[in-house]
Symmetry: D2
Subunit: 311 residues, 4 copies
C-alpha cells in the first residue's frame, strides 16, 4: 500500500538492532517488528536518525528495509532517505519502493536558509525520487537548523502532490499545528497527515491541536497507541493521566545522544531485542544513568491507571 | 555580600514587569521581589535572557538592578552582564556591584569554537570586569552554540579565582555534573557552586548528581525550594512525586519564546505582577495556549501531595 | 543633512584610534577624519564592526560619533547601531541623530531565519528608532548568518520608507545587485542607494552591475574614490587596471580578524593615526604578516598607472 | 602508489563532466584527465565538493574513481570519502583503494564542536577506513563550521600515522601554516604534506609560509604548477607577477556556487570537457557573469609575463 494523507496513529521509529560486535542482528529485527506489531502501531519508520541510519552502508540499508517490510505485513513502512545529494536519495527511494515500502521521509539539508531555497529543495527532491513516491517532510529545526513557516510548508504541500505527510518536530510545535490545520480549513492547503516527534514530549497537546498521531521512537509505543485512542475518543483526563505518568521517562529519552542508549536498553529489558549495542560512534549509558532509568521504570510499573493523582 | 562557591538553593531568574504600554512597572518590581522572597528562594538573578535584558537600555538596566537589590534585603542578587563587547560588560558589572549586587553572570558569544578560544574569552572577561567581581559562567549550548567540556570548564575555574559558580544548562546535563564533581573530588578543580537551568526540566536528577540547586524562572519557585529541601534530605520518593506533578507545566514553560509569556501569565495569576505584558518584540500566547496553561494549573491544583500516584 | 536614496561614492568605514594603553586617541580621530576628507570620500560610517564598536561603552560610543560628526563638515556620517535589543538601539540612534549624524546602519541578529522573521525584524527596528531616522540595512550573511533574498530586501524597502540604503556584502554579490536594480526598473521596488562591502574585493564588477559605490574600510579610500569615478565615466580598462593593482592588498586586508590589524598598520604608515593599537580582544600581526604587507605596499608603490600590464 | 607525507605540487580537484541531460560524460573524463596531466599536475583529487560528489550515487562514484585512476597513470589520485556515517565512508574508501587510489580525504561533520570531539572523530574515521589507508584531513571551517587549532591538528596527526596530508583552507590560513611548521620544527608534530585550497586566493603567500603546494580546482592548473616552481625556486617577484595576473579570475572563481559554473565554463573553453553542464541542483551563470568571465579571460590573455606592471 502507498502512504497517503489519511495516515494516522503511531508510526514507530524503528531501532536498528546490532550484535555486540557491530553486525546487524537480523534475528532481533524479526523480533522487534513483532514487538511493534504487538503494540498496535499503525506503521513503522526505518532508517531514521534514531535508527542509526548513517551508520549503515548502502547494502545494509536496503537489506534492513526489506526485512522490516516483509515482517510488517500489511502495515506501511516509511523509509528515511535523507541524503547530502539527490542521486543517492533517488537510489535508496527507488530501491525501497521496489522492496514494498509505503513511502519515504526527507529532511532538509542544514544549508537551506530562505523560504525559496526550502521550497526549491523539496521540488528538486520530488523530481529526483519521482512523482510516484509518496513522501513525508521532516520539519525538525533543532536538528537540521532549517526553519519552515506554515506558509512555506503549505507551498511545498501544494506544489508537490506526492507530499502526503508532515512530521512536525518544530519546538514549539503547538501553534504550528494549529496554523497548518487552519490553512486546511481555509482551503489554502490540502489535507495532509500530521504526525509529531520530539520524542513525544508534547504529544498530549499536539493531538488536541489536530495532529493525527505520533512518529517517534519512545520505547513504549503501546502507551502512545493508547494515548492516541483516548485523546481521539475525547477522554481528556484519562489521556493526560496516562501521558503524565510517562512524561518523566519520555523526557529522559528525549535527551540527545544518550536517548538512543536509553531506548535500546528499555527495548532490551522488554525483550524486543537481544542486545542494546549500538554501532560506533556510540554514547553509552553510565552506571548512574542506568540506575536512573531503572528508577523511572520502577515508578512507571507502580503507576496505577485506575487511581492516578488527578482523577 | 559577595557571591561565593558555597551558593546553594534556588536562584530565581527574575521576570521584568512592564506596563501594557511598555514602560517598566516599578510597583510590580517591588511586588515581585516580595513574592520571590516569600517563596523562600536563596537569591535572585536579574537581567537574564528570561528577564528580557536586551530590551532595556543602559539606564533602565541599572535602575532595575538597584530596585531589585534594595528589595532583596540580605539575599544575593546576580546580574546578567553578557554583552557583545567587554567595555559595556565592564560598565554594567561595575555599576551593578556598586549598587550592591553579589556577583555577575557571563554567557559566551556564539562565535567561540575551540577550547582555547573559550578559555581565552573568560580570561579577558574577568580582566575586563576586574578580579574582585565574583562571576557565574552560563553554560547553555542550545542558546549560545558554544560547547564547553568539563575539562574546559575546569580550566576556566582554575584560571579565574573569581569564577565561583557554574550555571549548567547543557543538554544533556547529568553526566556533565557528575564529571565536574569528579574533577573536584580528584582535586583537579576547586569547589564551585553548580546551579542548573533549562527551565528545571532535569532538576530532579541534577540534584542527585551533585548540583547545589536551580537557577531558572519557573513560575513556582516555591516548589523548587521544596524540591531542593526534599532532595537534599534524602526524601527521594517525595521529591520525585512533587517534581513529577509539576513536570507537565515545567515542560510547557520550557518552550522557547512562548515560555516567557506563560511565565508572566502565571506570575500575574499568582498576584506577583500586575500585567503580563512583554516589551516588543513579543511572542504572545494564543487563546489555545492560555486554555492549555489553565488546564495544567487546574491539574496542579488538584494534585494531592499526600496521596500521589507513586507512593 | 539626512541620508537619502541618492547617496553615492565612497563611505569609508572609519577606524577607531586608540592609544597603546587602550584609551581613545582623540587627537588621532581628528587627524583620521581629515585624512578621509582628503581622500575625497563622500561620507563616513562610524561604529561599524571594523570600527571596533562593541569594544566601546555607551559613553565612548556617542563621544566618538560627536567628534567624527564635528570634523566631517558637510559630509554625511552613518552610525552603526546594531544591538541585541531595540532599547539600546533606539537610545544610540536618537543620540546619534541629535549629534548630527545623517543616518544609522542596522544589521540583523543571527537568530533570524525565515523571510517573515527578517521582514518583521526591520519593521520593529524602524518603529524602535523612529520613522524619521534614515537607515541603511547591512546584508552580510557571512558575518551574521542571515540570508535575505532580493524579494525580502524589496519587501523591507517598500514597507519602511526610511530605509534608504542597502549595504550589500552578500557573497556572491553580483547577481543580487542586478536583481535589485531589475526590481527597481520594473517598479517593484523604489530606488535605494546600494553600496558594497566585503573589503572591496568585488567592487570593480559591483559598480558595473549598478552599485552606487563602496562602504568599506580599505586603507586606500583614495583609490576607491578614483575607481568609482573611472567606472562611472566608462573608463573600464583604466578602472580595472587600477583595481587589479590593489587587489593583492584588498584580498590581504579582507582576512577576518587580522584584516583590522593590517588596516590600522597601513593607516599609521600613511600618517592618518598615531598608533595602530587595538583595544582588547586583539588579533595582532605577526612579523611575517607585517613583512608581507610591506611587500605588498612596496609593489603597490611601484605600480605605474601609465603603463599597466594590460593596456 | 600510496599517498605519503612528501606529497607536493598541485593536486587538482577534478571536475565531474556531465552531458547536458545529466548523464556522466565518460569521454570527457578521459579528455579532462589528459588535460590535467598536460598541465603538469602532481596528482588529482576526485569526488571533492567541486567535483559535485554528493550528486553521484554509489555506483557512479566508484566508476568515476576507476576511470580517473586508470587515466592518471603514475599520478596519485585522492578520493573524497566524506560521509554522514562511517559505514558508507568505509565502503567507498575500500573500493577506492582497491581501484588503485593513492589515498582518501575526509572533512569533519558540521556537528563537531570541542577539541576532543574533533580528535575523537578522526580516530573513529581512521578505524573505520582501516589503518592502511593514507588520508588527507580537510580543514575548511567556512564550509564545515568546524574550527581546528594547530594543536588539535597536531594531536590528530600524532595519533593517526595514516594521516599524511593536511588540506588547509582555514581563513585566514597563513598563521596556521606557520604554526604547523613550527610544531614540526620543534618535533612536536611529525612531518605531513600541507596543501592549500580556498580556490588558491592566498597560494602566493601560503607557499612562502611553508605549504607544499595547492589542492584546488582553479581552471588554470598550469599556472599553479608554474607558480609552485617559481616560488620554490625563490623567484619571488616573478611568482607574484604571475599570481597577481591571475588573481582577478581566481577571486571570481572562488565565489560560492557560481564558482563551479565558471570553472566548467573555462574548462570547456580550454577544450578540456565537451559541456559545462552541471547535474541538478545547479547555479547557472547569467549572461552578465559570462561576459565578466570573458572579460577576465581576455585580460589574462593580454598579460605579458615578460613585462609585467611590477618588474
Amino acid at each position: 500500500m502507498r502512504l497517503n494523507e489519511q495516515a494516522a496513529g503511531v508510526f514507530t521509529i524503528a531501532a536498528t538492532p546490532f550484535h555486540s560486535d557491530g553486525r546487524l542482528d537480523t534475528a532481533s529485527i524479526d523480533r522487534l517488528a513483532e514487538f511493534y506489531l504487538g503494540c498496535g502501531v499503525s506503521g513503522l519508520t526505518v532508517l531514521g536518525v534514531m535508527g542509526e541510519a548513517p551508520k549503515l552502508d548502502a547494502e545494509e540499508s536496503i537489506a534492513l528495509v526489506r526485512q522490516f517490510v516483509s515482517r510488517a505485513g500489511k502495515l506501511p513502512v516509511i523509509v528515511g532517505v535523507t541524503s547530502p545529494g539527490f542521486a543517492p536519495m533517488r537510489a535508496l527511494a527507488r530501491q525501497a519502493m521496489d522492496a514494498g515500502a509505503a513511502g519515504v521521509m526527507i529532511a532538509p539539508p542544514s544549508t537551506l536558509r530562505t523560504d525559496d531555497q526550502i521550497v526549491g529543495y523539496y521540488r528538486q527532491a520530488r523530481e529526483a525520487i519521482g512523482d510516484d513516491v509518496p513522501f513525508a517532510l521532516q520539519d525538525y529545526p533543532l536538528a537540521f537548523s532549517v526553519v519552515m513557516t506554515p506558509q512555506v510548508l503549505s507551498r511545498i504541500v501544494m506544489e508537490n502532490p506526492s507530499c502526503v505527510m508532515l512530521k512536525i518536530e518544530d519546538w514549539p510545535s503547538l501553534e504550528k499545528i494549529s496554523a497548518l490545520r487552519a490553512l486546511e480549513h481555509e482551503s489554502r492547503m490540502r489535507r495532509v497527515s500530521i504526525l509529531t516527534g520530539n520524542g513525544g514530549i508534547f504529544v498530549d497537546f499536539e493531538l488536541e491541536r489536530g495532529s493525527d498521531g505520533a512518529m517517534t521512537g519512545y520505547a513504549f509505543p503501546d502507551m502512545l497507541v493508547d494515548l492516541v485512542k483516548l485523546s481521539k475518543a475525547g477522554e481528556r483526563a484519562k489521556a493526560h493521566n496516562l501521558f503524565d505518568a510517562h512524561l518523566p521517562l519520555i523526557r529522559y529519552e528525549q535527551q540527545p545522544a544518550v536517548g538512543l542508549a536509553v531506548r535500546k536498553y528499555i527495548l532490551q529489558q522488554r525483550g524486543a531485542i537481544t542486545s542494546d549495542a549500538q554501532r560506533n560512534p556510540t554514547t553509552p549509558m553510565s552506571a548512574a544513568a542506568r540506575a536512573e532509568v531503572d528508577f523511572l521504570l520502577d515508578r512507571l510499573r507502580r503507576f496505577d491507571s485506575r487511581s492516578p493523582a488527578v482523577a
